[in-house]
Amino acid sequence: MKTVESIEVIIAAIEELTPLIKRFTLRKVGGGSLPPFSGGSHVTVVMRGGERTFRNPYSLLSSPRNLDSYEIAVRRDAQGRGGSLFMHHIVTVGTRLEISHPINLFPLSKLARKQILIAGGVGITPILAMVDDLSAGAISWELHYCIRGPDHAYFGTWLSERYGDRVRLYDTSIGQRIDFAALAGWQPLGTHLYVCGPQSMIVDALESGRVAGWPESHLHAEQFAPPPVGEAFDVHLAGSGKIVQVSAEQSLLEALEAAGIEAPYLCRSGACGRCELNVLELDGELLHNDHWLTEEDRLSGTKIMPCVSRAKCRRLVLDW
């Protein structure tokens, strides 16, 4: 069973927006409209790099009203596992790639009375499309965006020019910071907050909301962090009797995929719950890196989210 239906695309343009970020324009191979999506959606890009295949989720930043092409932005991460380097160094105009259908795990609330968007760095990408949706509606909104310095201001400048006062930029190189407590403290009932950026920013934003009494239903966050690396281990699949080796650099999900197993996934970042697998046997410990399992699940030692979590053990048996 194919869990995520794919679309063949061709790279139509590549622009260097900042010293670290490139924007890629994707068109459907053979032309025609791409599937519709709403602001906050992402696609998983499949990158076949020789012996290794990367599948990275990237938010769609282009306007949801334009389906002739999709745009994604990729930040070069020299320390990363290679997906971003593949996009930066191997992919050129004309390269063909496979992407998943868009999925939205970071949707805007339709009932909100006010929307507050917070972004840091390349975390602006889903927010760009969300802002495009919001600019066509009647709900009041504002965006608070942190950048690393004037060289990294491409999206910030573009947004400010387009949306004026609704956009507030913070240049962290000159010490400008978002005052999260002030921001969360005095908002009308029915306000929703969305944050996408580095882990510390997400924690600060959500925590300030909670301190100000915000209910969880009004707090939304998204982060695409690469799966943590660790020690190599072996996985036994109870159903087929197969043994799959997970290398230190690979996630469990990637190792399963490399072995030709089509394990389910949606977000590949430990947030959506789609990839959950049952653990039948384990002679060590599970290293959970997801945001999905409950404390109870973790203590039970019977569940794992293979997109981000791994095990420190000799033998892990999965119910697959």
């Binding site: 609330s109 005095w186 908002q187 009308p188 306000t191 100000a212 009494g213 915000w214 239903s217």
Partner: protein, 226 residues
């Protein structure tokens, strides 16, 4: 089967002070005042707590005096449900996110208060509801769109179109009412057995002191099996 136990039935709970909120708004009606008196002892003495209450109910349970004798920082007593809902609307319009809303009273009142709350996008983690007092329902005639308050029987004559309505367990949040459908639509003159009170709230039925709405005499006593 016409009358079913549909999942749309509202779920209630005992009001509990939710310390994760920063502001707290309690709204009571009729016997719902009992819930407010009960939670009073759990509450911190805070500027952020506000109470709106109306004693208006068809069971005649008026607890305004008892409530007034507790020391609340902000207590607003209103003569009617309509006035209480109006004040609720005004207060919510001024309220900040971080406010928790607690509603206690009859099912009909709770439904109307929820409709007001929905305008301010209050989700289930910001809103608690406790049903106290009458199990009377607000019934909406699906044929002529007339609403009837305080219905305590499974069949009620519609004021709007004169049809006899069978009160279904299907609750519409949008209309804050149970659906009433023509009771003898299949065989004219054939009605299900007339019963009083609604089973899920049998325990509270003894609080009724209003007469059951008159049912026209031509309804046969015969029970239609469905």
């Amino acid at each position: 089967m016409l009358v079913t136990d549909v999942k749309s039935r509202p779920q209630y709970q005992q009001l509990r002070f939710d310390a994760s909120g920063r502001f707290h708004l309690f709204v009571g009606q009729g016997e719902g005042g009992l819930a407010l008196l009960r939670v009073r002892s759990e509450l911190p003495d805070s500027e952020g707590i506000r109470v709106i209450y109306t004693g208006e109910s068809h069971t005649g349970s008026e607890l305004s005096e008892e409530l007034a004798s507790c020391r609340w920082r902000h207590l607003t007593l209103l003569p009617t449900q309509v006035a209480a809902l109006q004040v609720l609307d005004e207060v919510l319009a001024q309220s900040l996110i971080g406010t928790r809303l607690y509603v206690a009273g009859s099912e009909g009142f709770i439904g109307l208060a929820e409709q007001v709350a929905a305008r301010y996008d209050l989700q289930s983690d910001e809103l608690q509801r406790e049903h106290l007092g009458s199990s009377a329902r607000r019934v909406f005639c699906v044929h002529c769109q007339t609403s009837h308050d305080d219905v305590t029987t499974n069949i009620v004559p519609c004021r709007g179109c004169g049809r006899h309505l069978l009160v279904r367990d299907h609750y519409s949040r949008r209309l804050a009412a149970f659906m009433g459908v023509m009771a003898d639509a299949e065989v004219p003159g054939c009605f299900p057995e007339l019963t009083e009170g609604f089973a899920p709230f049998a325990a509270t039925n003894k609080t009724f002191n209003t007469p059951i709405p008159a049912i026209e005499p031509h309804i046969p006593a015969r029970v239609e099996s469905r």
